[in-house]
Amino acid sequence: MSKRNVSRRQFLNYTLTGVGGFMAAGILMPMVRFAIDPVLKASASGGYVATSQKVSELTAEPIRVDYTFDQIDGWYESQVTNTAWVYKADDGKIVALSPVCKHLGCTVAWNTDKEHPEQFFCPCHMGRYTKDGVNVPGTPPIKPLDVYETQEKDGILYLGLLKPHEGA
């Protein structure tokens, strides 16, 4: 035992603070965990999604491929249609690019800017990307377009997860 005496007032202060803190924590802990649940929930990584695009019909010219999948958003389930820009590269590999501009998320399209043909163009802030998805320096985007993983099954194009552009 140390010689420092704890006064009655101090003792009551400590016990009241302790008990009060314990009760406050007991009330707040479930609520806070409840609120931050979306951050801690493991993201369900979906597999490949079938498109209606035949791989044999792909050319060197990027085309718009829409694909539809079931999305579970909390209590709300719906069918969502997304888009990819797909073409066959010179080495025969299939390239599927996300249409989401890396500047602020508008939607890019192929070959829609007359002054800069053969490029992906975002109309919101004149962002441009070359055919391989790399952003053109001097335009607003600071990163290349994301790339889909692709798969061919029974001659049909399947799209997987979006990944950051390699290279560049």
Binding site: I27, P30, D37, G74, W75
Partner: protein, 224 residues
């Protein structure tokens, strides 16, 4: 650390007197259960407030997931209760707390009534207390509909039929509450939600403030 922050604020705003006005006052012996155990009856008012705080907190968190829409309301409640971590606990706190707050408030009212503590000069505080009682009942009634299950809808049907039976203005009152003369549906749910989370809590906080200011001004009634 804490002391330094306190001193910094105190130097500018002189908060010590404010703090003293709010919290630094002696609890009279006759309301202190440490002196007379029977004085625990004086705790019911504080317990009502304590549970009210829990209701406000848990309600705030529940609205992070709940949607007041006839298509999604039940699904969102099911989701937040069964899919979100501690959802059952947080919804349970709000569900059971709603009943408990009525119980505590009733016991508090009984104590004030049987001790005659409502008599002069505390009549106004009794009036405000009764208004709080009504607001609490209305909170329970409007909250009951929000899960949008069969029990909720039929309970609301009963409420609206009672409102409808008021002479002359009954149908108008019913339409005002339900948002539609005949349907208990989309407009009823959004109305009840708005009343439950905005209008009644605002009224409740104002009334509680008045209740507390009056009790600090007048003090607790003397021993029997």
């Amino acid at each position: 650390m804490f002391n330094k922050i306190y001193d910094w604020v105190d130097e500018r705003l002189d908060i010590a007197p404010i703090w003293r006005d709010i919290a630094d006052h002696e609890v009279p012996e006759h309301v202190n259960p440490a002196h007379h155990f029977s004085a625990f009856v004086y705790c019911f008012g504080g317990l009502t407030f304590f549970i009210t705080v829990i209701q406000i907190l848990s309600g705030m968190f529940l609205t992070m997931y709940y949607v007041p829409d006839i298509v999604n309301a039940w699904e969102s409640v099911y989701y937040l209760q069964n899919e979100v971590a501690f959802g059952q606990i947080v919804r349970g706190m709000h569900h059971w707390g709603a009943s408990l707050v009525i119980v505590m408030m009733f016991l508090h009212t009984l104590r004030v009534f049987f001790q005659g503590a409502y008599k002069k000069p505390r009549e106004l505080n009794w009036v405000v207390g009764v208004l709080i009682f009504f607001v609490m009942l209305a909170l329970g009634l409007t909250g009951y509909l929000l899960p949008w299950d069969m029990k909720a809808v039929f309970a609301t049907k009963v409420t609206l039929t009672i409102a409808d039976s008021v002479p002359l203005i009954g149908p108008a009152i019913k339409t005002l509450i339900a948002g539609d003369p005949t349907i208990i549906g989309a407009q009823t749910l959004t109305r009840f939600f708005a009343i439950h989370v905005f209008f009644l809590p605002a009224a409740l906080l104002g009334l509680i403030a008045a209740h507390f200011i009056m009790i600090r001004k007048q003090g607790i009634s003397g021993p029997l």
